[in-house]
């Protein structure tokens, strides 16, 4: 797992541009972005709304491809992969946490967490159950295993989503503004959980526009108008904010 520091970064971006074409107009959402994420990091992408955080995470998350430059995820150049291979890469190497949780409404917590394992088709039912329950325990909602998302609070749903992101033991978990739809107390609890999981070895890369959340990160990548303007530690960020 990602605990052992490795010379090999999980994510490597070099001189990445991303253009969106809106008819005749081209919006450049990312410019000359270069970035490396090493195993074990707890990195935040900070920036105001519209600065390109989601765009950057989508490129790293293999749900979109760069217009120029290179995006290497788990050793694979995503620009050269076919649709099916990208999907497989997402399934096996990445975990996703969404701003609005995005659980499957008709499945209960257990089934939602189990879903990626079913797609992987690697485990039998007993193994799956063990893994799922282990994760539900770690995110603290094992008792709600058979509740459907509609019956859970926002924080509980995000915990289910975190468990789902981690269930395949991904190289990195990507979270686009994971606390934006939560009140600050619950948001803090979720960040506590993510930090705890990071200490246990999971690499996190998440985004936020909330300065209070930024302060929780180990490393801060500051994004303004699609450019990385600063790389700093949380301490540096805090002193600068102060």
């Amino acid at each position: 797992m990602a605990t052992t520091p490795s010379s090999q970064p999980i994510v490597h971006l070099s001189n990445v541009d991303k253009d969106y074409k809106l008819g005749a107009v081209t919006v450049t959402a990312l410019r000359q972005v270069s970035l490396e994420i090493a195993p074990g990091e707890f990195t935040v992408i900070a920036g105001p709304s519209g600065s390109g955080k989601t765009t950057l995470l989508n490129l790293i998350g293999c749900v979109d491809v760069a217009t120029r430059g290179q995006v290497i995820v788990a050793g694979q150049d995503t620009g050269k992969l076919a649709e099916g291979d990208l999907t497989r890469l997402r399934l096996n190497a990445l975990g996703f946490i969404f701003q609005s949780f995005n659980l499957v409404g008709v499945l209960d917590a257990f089934q939602n967490v189990e879903f990626p394992l079913l797609l992987q088709k690697k485990m039998n039912a007993a193994q799956r159950k063990e893994r799922v329950m282990d994760l539900l325990n770690r995110v603290g909602i094992a008792e709600y295993a058979h509740h459907r998302p509609g019956e859970l609070s926002g924080g509980q749903r995000q915990r289910v989503a975190i468990a789902r992101a981690l269930v395949t033991l991904p190289r990195i978990v990507l979270a686009d503004e994971p606390t934006a739809n939560l009140d600050s107390v619950t948001g803090n609890q979720i960040l506590d959980l993510m930090q705890e999981l990071n200490r246990e070895g999971t690499t996190f890369l998440f985004s936020t526009h909330d300065p209070k959340v930024v302060s929780r990160a180990g490393r801060v990548v500051r994004l303004v108008d699609g450019r990385i303007v600063a790389e700093e530690t949380a301490e540096q960020y805090q002193t600068r904010q102060a």
Binding site: N58, D176, E177
Partner: protein, 709 residues
């Protein structure tokens, strides 16, 4: 599998969509099940009606004939051709392992006069005179005299309306005869020479008599014995079957009741049946009409009663009506004015008191009846034949279609058909030229025989067998060649004796098989598929170069056989429409729900679900819908079919009786009904899922990322 789970949960979650889609699928499955049950049950019961009454499984007719055989089709002689080599064909067919029996047939219609009451009374009078029974002679003579008086009245009436110039000489002299017979002098001298008086009445007056019903009878000329054995729906009602090898006629009970029965009695029967079905006299227009006819047609009864019977009926009616009325006509009129309250009593009284005194059936078991045919070449043929009894096709008692078929022996059938080969025609023409047609014109018998057509009443004997030749001996038949000559109806005593001798003549199987027929019915062995039977028969026809065309019962029965095809088409069309509508609606509602699920599907894609897995999810969902709702629909449909299959559905009319092969219709689901219904529902569901599934496959993982605030 999680996909099934998601599919099921989706069904439960999206209630409106499920209700719409489910309702349609349930309805479609229901319709298919019920429709298939109806059709296959009608098909099999109708096939039994058709196959086991007249048509058998396969029919053969002459190849290249102008008209196609249409057994239950329209009346009248159609040009379906002739078959001459039946013995040879029969032998070949019976050697086939598929064939159980082969029956020669010919279907035709002819006119029969349904009993002349005066004729009957004259016979009674002759018997009374012969027996020397003074009292009986007196009673019957008075009745006959009254009938003659009535007849004279009617004819004088008629004379007032018709143009004298246009009347035939026969008619004119007939009128004079009747007037003469109505003179007191004629009756005063009766006792002095009863036989010559009787002769005069029999030969000159009876033919002028009114009240003769003209019946148009449809019959199957056939090997009666074999017919009886092969068609298992056939069963005797009254009388006896025609003895093997003999000439004879059997009435279908349905025709017999409908056409031969005394009109007043028949109308009373109909009123009884209608009331039994729950109708009321006051509200049923048809019952009212029948009652009115019974009252105005009182003569149907009074005409038939002699003095003794008149007194008895008067007394009974006076008692029933509590009336002092002495005019029988008025009594009958009042008696026939029935209502709901008194009908049952009067019906019983009619059958107890009046029916035994009248001629309840114009032609009775044991009577010799005269059939007036109209041969293919257009001249009249007349044959006397004995009526042995009545029969019915089991379960089809009430069917007009099956009920129209009476049965006639083949020898008589051929006489009526008057078919002959070109050789024979020439031979007859030559004979006639030699003997001189005029000389033969001795009486009406010969008139009929060698009338307008030029004496073409000769059977095809070109391939006469030794047995046939042997039959034509003077002892068996006074006339020249027994099976070849036809006896005439109203002929003199010579013709009657000749007819009698024909009646008792027993024909050999070779004679029966040897002549011309029109079509051949082939009954297959149990379990043999009609298609296989057709293949075998067609191969046999080819191998032997028979000039024959084979038709399965469906084709041979005419329009009725196609009826099932029409129902099939109607059902198929309505199912098609239902499916088309379902397709559009299901498709629409699935597209809507797919759009609603865009984020969810995008999330699945982001998490790592492949496009094909999304497709599978939709396919599984479609299958789950099809199975769940299809099963519900099938269950409903099956329930309905099973209910009626158990209790039966009353066949509303004659045609329905024929279709259901009995008075009640018992639908049953064919074994392949369920799979077909389920398959159809699945196909529809799958097709309606195609477009939404394609839309879903195009949803990208990005759909999961875009935040909806």
């Amino acid at each position: 599998m999680i996909l099934i789970h998601i599919a099921l949960r989706n069904l439960l979650t999206h209630k409106v969509k499920s209700a719409i889609v489910g309702g349609l699928l349930v309805f479609a499955a229901f319709l298919i099940i019920v429709g298939l049950s109806l059709i296959s049950s009608i098909d099999s019961s109708m096939s039994k009606s058709i196959v086991n009454s007249v048509a058998a499984h396969i029919q053969l007719q002459q190849k290249g004939a102008k008209d196609e055989l249409s057994i239950f089709g329209q009346m009248g002689s159609n040009e379906i051709g002739y078959i001459h080599n039946f013995p040879e064909i029969r032998k070949a067919l019976e050697a086939l392992p598929e064939v159980a029996a082969v029956v020669p047939q010919g279907i035709d219609s002819s006119i029969v006069f349904g009993g002349n009451v005066l004729d009957v009374k004259l016979e009674a009078l002759r018997n009374a005179v012969k027996a020397g029974d003074k009292i009986q002679t007196d009673v019957v003579r008075r009745h006959v005299r009254r009938m003659v008086a009535l007849l004279d009245d009617e004819l004088k009436n008629l004379k007032g309306f018709t143009d004298q110039e246009k009347m035939s000489d026969d008619m004119k002299s007939g009128l004079v005869d009747v007037t003469q017979a109505n003179q007191p002098a004629f009756w005063d001298s009766f006792d002095q020479d009863p036989y010559s008086h009787l002769e005069f009445l029999e030969n000159k007056i009876a033919k002028m008599a009114i009240g003769e019903d003209m019946l148009m009878l449809r019959y199957v000329g056939t090997d009666t014995e074999r017919f009886r054995q092969v068609f298992d729906r056939f069963e005797m009602v009254d009388g006896t079957p025609i003895p093997p090898g003999q000439r004879g006629f059997l009435f279908n009970k349905f025709t017999y009741e409908e056409q031969v029965k005394h009109k007043t009695a028949r109308r009373l029967d109909k009123i009884r049946d209608r009331l039994a079905e729950g109708a009321k006299v006051a509200t049923d227009e048809e019952i009212k009409q029948w009652i009115k006819l019974n009252r105005t047609q009182y003569k149907e009864i009074t005409f038939q009663l002699d003095d003794v019977a008149t007194d008895a009926v008067k007394a009974a009616l006076q008692a029933e009506l509590a009336s002092q009325e002495t005019d029988l006509a008025k009594l009958v009129d009042a008696f026939m004015d029935v209502n709901d309250a008194n009908f049952a009593k009067r019906y019983a009284l009619f059958y107890k008191v009046i029916a035994p005194k009248i001629r309840l059936y114009g032609i009775r078991v044991g009577d010799t009846m005269t059939i007036n045919g109209f041969s293919q070449s257009g001249y009249a043929t007349t044959v006397n034949v004995k009526m042995f009894g009545t029969f019915r096709f089991h379960g089809l008692d009430r069917s007009t279609m099956a009920g129209a078929f009476n049965i006639l022996d083949l020898m008589t059938y051929r006489d009526l058909l008057g078919y002959m080969t070109a050789d024979k025609k020439a031979e007859i023409a030559k004979l006639q030229a030699e003997s001189g047609v005029k000389e033969l014109k001795r009486d009406s018998a010969e008139d009929e025989l060698f009338g307008k057509g030029g004496g073409e009443v000769v059977e095809d004997t070109s391939d006469a067998t030794p047995a046939q030749a042997a039959a034509a001996t003077p002892t068996d038949a006074p006339a020249a060649a027994t099976p070849t000559v036809v006896a005439a109806g109203n002929g003199g005593t010579g013709a009657k004796a000749f007819a009698k001798s024909l009646e008792s003549h027993v024909y050999s199987q070779a004679e029966i098989d040897g002549g011309v027929i029109r079509n051949i019915a082939i009954m297959l062995k149990p379990g043999v598929d009609v298609k296989d039977g057709m293949i075998a028969v067609n191969r046999l026809i080819d191998e032997n170069k028979f000039e024959l065309k084979a038709l399965d019962w469906r084709a041979a029965s005419g329009l009725v056989g196609n009826f099932i095809g029409v129902i099939y088409a109607v059902l198929a069309f309505s199912i098609f429409i239902i499916f088309l509508v379902s397709l559009v609606i299901i498709n629409n509602s699935l597209v809507m729900s797919t759009l609603e699920r865009t984020r969810e599907i995008g999330t699945m894609r982001a998490i790592g679900a492949q496009r094909t897995e999304i497709l599978w999810m939709f396919v599984v969902e479609a299958f789950v819908m099809a199975i769940v709702f299809g099963a519900i629909g099938c269950a409903f449909g099956y329930g309905l079919v099973a209910y009626f299959g158990h209790f039966g559905l009353l066949a509303g009319n004659d045609f329905m009786v024929f279709l259901s092969g009995g008075p009640r219709f018992y639908p049953a689901l064919p074994p392949w009904g369920l799979p077909v219904a389920m398959l159809a529902v699945m196909i529809v569901t799958l097709i309606s899922t195609l477009y939404p599934a394609w839309l879903a496959m195009r949803i990208t993982p990005l759909a999961a990322m875009q935040d909806s605030e």
